[in-house]
Amino acid sequence: MDSIDRTIIRATQAGLPLTPEPYQTLAQQIGISADELMQRLTHMQTTGIIRRIGAVPNHYKLGYRHNGMTVWDVADAQMDNLGTQVGLLDFVSHCYHRPRHLPEWPYNLFAMIHSKTAAEAEQHIADIAALLGTHCRAHDVLYSTRILKKTGLRISQ
């Protein structure tokens, strides 16, 4: 990643221009050709610096009001196998292995779920519990009650 890539990242943090040729518009702002910009974006996507180009919806505005961080105490030996399976469930948006903090925090598998109704959320939690079966010793669900802060990724020079 060089200084032009960083300029591209800064220039697109607010989003892509809503013009018929958005990459041309952006390239002009940055002072490179549209071809170079598209090549660089493609390269950043291939190398994973860009996960994808796309839209991020606001959960609440789409009616997803039951957004829970489900957390599970999963046997270490089964973690990667089960974590991969939980991540494939279509109602899970993020799934991570994270460290426990014993004794207060025994949970090591985190899966974010999004539901329109409380009943649907309960069903999703039951589905994950069934998948983990006896490899899970305990679980909890932390529903968000308020967004205290939400900003995009920041990058300086």
Binding site: G15, L18, Y23, A34, I50, P57, V86, H97, R98, S144
Partner: protein
């Protein structure tokens, strides 16, 4: 929001092409005009149905670092603690959650060392113990909320 809007949201969550006229290309698959797509997209952004449209970056692949951390803020000091934590530019998101650990925030920094430094400063300024929960492994990240 109508069926065309829902179609746009579902389609654009999956990705967006890199080519000279990408809106035109997407509009064709949606059976609408490029102009209609641009106008509707603008409205979806202005009304906050979409919080963002553009490249989604992977902090670690840019050399940066992320972590998830939590504190147990006393109820009577909750807002004060949130203000202290939110004042750090490294804090990207912060959520109140129903649990003994009632405040959960994401730090995004340009280097891994800055994570430790920032957490240390947060502990000093809040007087709270910070539970640091950096990811050990990522199994899945993606949004797929059907509109």
């Amino acid at each position: 929001m109508d069926d065309i809007d829902r179609n746009i949201i579902n389609t654009l969550q999956a990705g967006f092409p890199i080519c000279p006229s990408p809106y035109q290309q997407v509009a064709e698959t949606l059976n609408i005009s490029e102009q209609e797509l641009l106008v509707r997209l603008q409205t979806l952004l202005e009304t906050g149905v979409l919080s963002r449209f553009g490249p989604l970056f992977h902090a670690e692949h840019m050399g940066g670092a992320l972590t998830l951390a939590a504190v147990q803020a006393p109820e009577q000091d909750f807002d004060k603690m949130a203000a202290i934590i939110n004042a750090f530019p490294e804090v990207a998101h912060n959520y109140a959650r129903k649990h003994k650990l009632n405040m959960w925030f994401v730090l995004a920094t340009e280097t891994p060392a800055q994570i430790e430094q920032t957490l240390h400063k947060i502990e000093q300024q809040t007087g709270l113990h910070v539970y640091n929960m950096p990811k050990i492994h990522e199994y899945f990240v993606g949004l797929k909320l059907e509109a």
